[in-house]
């Protein structure tokens, strides 16, 4: 291990203290209070230089992303419509984009995502098409022969883990965000607050060999009631001393040991974390009723506190669930994608307010995409899907992907990549997507073998995706309702985000048409 933390991690600290036979309860309490005091005293308000944060936005359940990004050139749309049947979105409802790299080939973004369309056109967001978990580049023939198959392909929990670990042929819960932190955490000052912060509980993505996850809610952290490490001569002091002695003790039961460690981390880290994010300096209004935006607001606040926390690197995990649309796909996705789009628009504005647009990169992930074919009113588990990366550092305005497939798979010719019912073999591995993000984040080529063990042996030599780079600012088309937000500068809020009113009207019409189609379907069901 080349880099090791300049000071001991919490568990090592306690472990070593115990091994050394330091058993007195009172001494433990004093030590812990000192640690707390030191960590608080170390806080300054100066932003660290070279701060970078990676934000994983996980759409749990498997987003049907072939309705999030739809091909719109004539033949391709017809193929899309034929494959998807009742699930197809009407062509004229889509938010048309002309990516900078597809030779004029056009695509349409889901009508409820005008903020995403504007971010794309302004060069601040890109799509990666047909990306998924791959053991190595895989052909349909290989798939049919049973080679290169990820374990338990198409199952939720396995594919979630595989996206988060980049080890689709192993059962492991150590994720690539966690492994990145194993390598890079030494860049941060000693802090009780872990480099890896989750807004959505435990997950494989943030879990490293050493790195552990600090979880907060969208409202921040919570203090343990009745506990205060600085109280003296009162009931709280009595209680706090007893709590300290129970939580720092070394337990024989591995379960008791883990429980005590987790609880102690939470009880103590509260003080440093809360001090760092207080007062709230973020004034960008948070979209109401949007829990994802609330979580992203907390992430922005923590990123903005990088000076106080002394952090140069942070990895965040945030999740929005409910994408397993076996049923009611079109109506549910309309609402949920709008939530995502509004949250991303908000996050971009918030990062602008904090001057962190070039320091933070957000990317989406999901279990899998869904079958192109319909099960009547929804779609089932599939494989490769479409994703977004957003930030000042990303090469916005492009749709990236397998160049041999023309970046976005041609749905007129999916037979060679369809394992059945429209489950597409990914053209790009999650490893390749992750590689670009991690390179930007500061994982060196030599460390990449640790963070992405399969990348150099199985995927290097293929053309790099190019997630990070100079963006492409789309020329404002006359028919577009885009605000024409310019790609330059990180100034104020995105001006004039349209609500996609025309698209919304079309979608309403489409839902009505769809009901009619379902009626027809029933009539046909003889």
């Amino acid at each position: 291990m080349k880099k090791s933390s300049p000071d001991l991690s919490r568990r090592e600290f306690i472990g070593q203290a115990s091994c050394a036979g330091v058993g007195a309860t009172a001494l433990f309490s004093t030590l812990l209070s000192l640690r707390l005091a030191n960590s608080l005293a170390a806080q300054t308000t100066t932003a660290t230089s070279d701060y970078k944060a990676l934000v994983c936005l996980f759409l749990a359940g498997g987003n049907d992303s072939y309705n999030m990004l739809v091909p719109t050139t004539a033949g391709e749309y017809a193929a899309y419509s034929a494959l998807r049947g009742g699930l197809a979105l009407p062509a004229d409802s889509l938010l048309q984009i002309t990516p900078g790299n597809m030779g004029g080939r056009t695509l349409g973004i889901h009508p409820s995502m005008p903020e995403v369309r504007d971010l794309f056109n302004a060069g601040n967001l890109n799509f990666v098409a047909n990306v998924g978990s791959l053991v190595r580049p895989t052909t349909l023939t290989q798939y049919k022969a049973g080679t290169n198959r990820p374990l338990s392909l198409y199952s939720h929990d396995d594919q979630v883990k595989q996206w988060q670990t980049c080890m689709p042929d192993k059962r492991t819960a150590i994720g690539w965000g966690g492994r990145a932190a194993d390598i890079l955490h030494s860049l941060n000052n000693s802090s009780l607050v872990s480099m890896n912060i989750s807004l959505a509980g435990q997950n494989a993505f943030l879990t490293g060999q050493q790195a552990f996850t600090y979880t907060v809610g969208s409202g921040g952290a919570t203090a343990l009631t009745g506990y205060n490490p600085t109280s003296v001569n009162n009931l709280t002091a009595v209680r706090s001393a007893a709590v300290d002695s129970m939580l720092v003790a070394d337990y024989r039961s591995l379960f008791e040991k883990s429980y005590a460690g987790t609880t102690l981390d939470a009880v103590e880290t509260y003080y440093e974390f809360t001090n760092a994010i207080t007062p709230n300096i973020l004034t960008t209004p948070i979209p109401t009723g949007n829990s994802l935006a609330n979580s992203l607001a907390m992430i922005a606040r923590v990123a903005g506190a990088n000076g106080k926390l002394g952090t140069k690197r942070q990895v965040f995990f945030v999740q929005i669930g409910g994408w397993d649309h076996h049923d009611g796909l079109v109506a549910k996705q309309q609402t949920m994608l709008a939530t995502v789009s509004k949250a991303l628009g908000f996050f971009w504005t918030a990062l602008g307010e904090l001057g962190l647009r070039n320091n933070v990169t957000l990317f989406t992930a999901s279990d899998f995409a869904r079958t192109l074919t319909s099960n009547g009113d929804g779609s089932d588990h599939a494989w490769g899907g479409n994703h977004m990366a957003m930030g000042g550092a990303v090469a916005g305005g492009y749709v990236l992907g397998d160049k041999t497939q023309g970046y976005y798979p041609d749905l007129q010719n999916v037979a060679t990549i369809d394992t059945g019912q429209g489950r597409l073999i990914p053209g790009v591995a999650v490893d390749e997507y992750a590689h670009d993000l991690l390179s930007w984040f500061g994982v060196t080529a030599s460390d990449m073998d640790y963070v992405l063990p399969a990348y150099s042996t199985r995927f290097a030599g293929r053309q790099e995706l190019g997630v990070i780079g100079t963006g492409y600012t789309a020329p404002v088309s006359s028919s577009s309702s885009s605000s024409g937000a310019s790609g330059g500068g990180g100034g104020g809020a995105m001006g004039g985000l349209t609500t996609g009113a025309a698209g919304a009207a079309l979608l309403l019409k489409m839902l009505a048409d769809r009901k009619a189609r379902i009626r027809a379907e029933k009539a046909d069901a003889t």
């Binding site: 091994c19 359940g61 034929a82 050493q210 919570t222 429980y259 076996h326 640790y450």
Partner: protein, 559 residues
């Protein structure tokens, strides 16, 4: 190359572990009295030992087997009955939402005298999951409680009946979308929904990998586990689960040829009926394994015959016995049962001694009476036991201290104090069909390094490890929702070590370590009248003692 070799981490962890075991690590007490052994048993078999339930065991001279038989003979209760009675009695209740359903079920779980059945029902609700986090379930009137009642009816019955009832329950139909699942339609290009077909295999019966009779994985030559089904199996089972719709007597189909489902009022409590004209009548391939009675289904069988054959195909699959046995052991006793323990229980699942497969009462008995569950020597085994999930820690506190509830309709109301937001879980409220946690979740650190799993740790994080004790603190200090604790008995012994003995009996089942006891004793000795409001010294000490116990690892981990 800066790869961190896994073996180095392992060696390091083992050294720490070794050092820790050689030094004076805090060790649970394992010399238990008959009463303490009994409360430990009740913590596994019920929603927590209470003075009353301990008295039941004393009356049976601590004969656990007789107690289990006595429990199984108790009449089955019903949350739907509670809901309907509440509606009849209270004009303000006009419909059943999440709150009413949860209050009715909480009443059964906490106050039901059929505690074993309740606890097994709750365990099953974490295996065959529906969730009121889904609007299809929360909007289904009393449907989620009807589902709970169904699990309760079958909890100590036969697994084959249970699986058929789960499959046909209208709320499961809505949750996993096989309700109104149509046969393939070549005109519109639609095909059957695969949702239920996948999860009934992966989660409710056979799991992902081929298992040995003791639950260990069968592997290929390279040591990789062998998968037990393919996606083609799922598309075939999806065709079986077509044609289900609301129970009604309307036999007039809709659409052209009157082939589509008849119009009917949504029915959330009666088994779904089979509408043959939307059932896929083609022949189907089920799972092939040694001894499979019907690995293929001929064309043109009646829909329910297809479904029963498919259920049989799953129930009789060699994976099901060890798969379900392990999950039930994890819910009731320990996260890491030995393969021998799983094997012993699975053997009873295969044959209860009278040639019957899937006898759940026999299975539960085998789990709870096994040496690995009962022998107190396991208490000090560092890999034994489990983190008690927050809801069970809550019910244990309530039942230990003779809780009281308000007097209104459906009074078992936790309000905002105990919810997903404070506990990370609420019964029948999992975020997905994958429950609150995965059976193989391993938190990083000593548990993962030792190759162990600890499902409940998936919801122990820096949020819930604080918010949950805080909610309990409020309950202890002043009550929560409609609940208050009755601490009169404890206040009477507050100045004595009897208080800690009492808490140890009901909350830590006699396993409280010397160190934890010392920490609490020291704290109590330092509490003086000047620190608390006038006249509250005794009750303040009791509350402090309970709060410290509920924060202790001794209480959190059931050993």
């Amino acid at each position: 190359m800066t790869k961190i070799p896994k073996f180095a981490a392992l060696i390091f962890a083992n050294l720490v572990f070794l050092a820790a075991s050689l030094s004076a690590a805090v060790t649970p007490n394992a010399t238990l009295t008959a009463d303490q052994l009994a409360t430990r048993f009740l913590a596994q078999a019920t929603f927590g030992p209470s003075p009353d339930s301990l008295a039941e065991l004393r009356a049976l001279s601590y004969n656990y087997s007789a107690w289990i038989d006595q429990e199984a003979a108790k009449p089955v209760t019903s949350a739907v009955t509670l809901l309907l009675a509440a509606k009849a009695a209270d004009a303000t209740i006009t419909s059943f939402g999440i709150s009413e359903n949860r209050r009715a079920r909480s009443q059964l779980m906490l106050a039901g005298t059929d505690q074993l059945r309740q606890r097994v029902t709750y365990a099953l609700s974490q295996i065959m999951v529906i969730s009121d986090a889904d609007s299809n379930v929360s909007g289904a009137g009393e449907g989620s409680s009807s589902y709970y009642d169904m699990l309760e009816r079958d909890a100590l019955g036969n697994f084959r009946t249970l699986l058929m009832d789960v499959t046909r329950h209208p709320v499961m139909g809505r949750y996993l979308s096989h309700y109104k699942n149509r046969k393939p339609n070549t005109t519109t290009g639609t095909r059957p929904d695969e949702n239920y077909a996948r999860e009934v295999m992966q989660l409710f019966t056979i799991g992902l990998y081929q298992l040995n009779p003791d639950g260990t994985f069968q592997t290929d030559a390279t040591g990789k586990p062998l998968e037990v089904y393919t996606n083609d199996n799922i598309t075939e089972f999806a065709r079986v689960f077509t044609g289900f719709t609301d129970d009604s007597t309307n036999n007039t189909g809709t659409g052209t040829g009157a082939a589509d489902f008849p119009s009917a009022v949504a029915n959330y409590t009666v088994q779904m009926r089979m509408w043959e004209k939307q059932h896929d009548v083609g022949s189907k391939t089920l799972l092939a394994y040694t001894g499979a009675t019907k690995p293929t289904l001929p064309a043109n069988q009646a829909g329910l015959v297809d479904v029963q054959d498919a259920i049989n195909n799953l129930v009789e699959h060699p994976n099901t016995a060890p798969f379900i046995s392990r999950l039930l052991i994890q819910r009731l006793v320990t996260s890491n049962p030995t393969s021998a323990y799983v094997g012993r229980v699975a053997a009873v699942f295969v044959n209860n001694g009278a040639g019957v497969r899937g006898d759940l009462l026999a299975v539960v008995k085998a789990i709870l009476l096994d040496d690995e569950a009962r022998n107190p020597s396991y208490i000090t085994v560092s890999s034994h036991g489990k983190l008690q999930e927050p809801f069970l820690r809550l019910t244990q506190v309530l039942r230990a201290f003779k809780y009281t509830v308000g007097t209104g309709t459906l009074p078992y109301d936790f309000s905002y104090n105990f919810t997903e937001s404070t506990m990370g879980q609420f019964p029948l409220g999992a975020p997905t069909v994958f429950n609150f946690y995965m059976p193989d979740y391993a938190p990083s650190g000593v548990i993962d390094t030792a190759g162990l799993v600890a499902p409940e740790f998936q919801i122990l994080n820096s949020v819930f490890s604080v918010t949950f004790p805080n909610a309990l603190y409020n309950l202890i200090q002043s009550g929560a929702g409609t609940f208050t604790l009755n601490l009169t008995d404890q206040a009477a012994i507050a100045t004595d070590s009897l208080l800690i003995d009492n808490l140890d009996l009901y909350l830590t089942h006699g396993t409280m370590s010397v160190e934890t006891r010392a920490a609490i004793t020291t704290a109590l000795s330092k509490v003086i009248t000047a620190m608390v409001p006038t006249g509250t010294l005794a009750i303040s000490k009791v509350r402090l003692a309970i709060h410290l116990v509920i924060l202790s690892p001794d209480f959190a981990i059931l050993k």
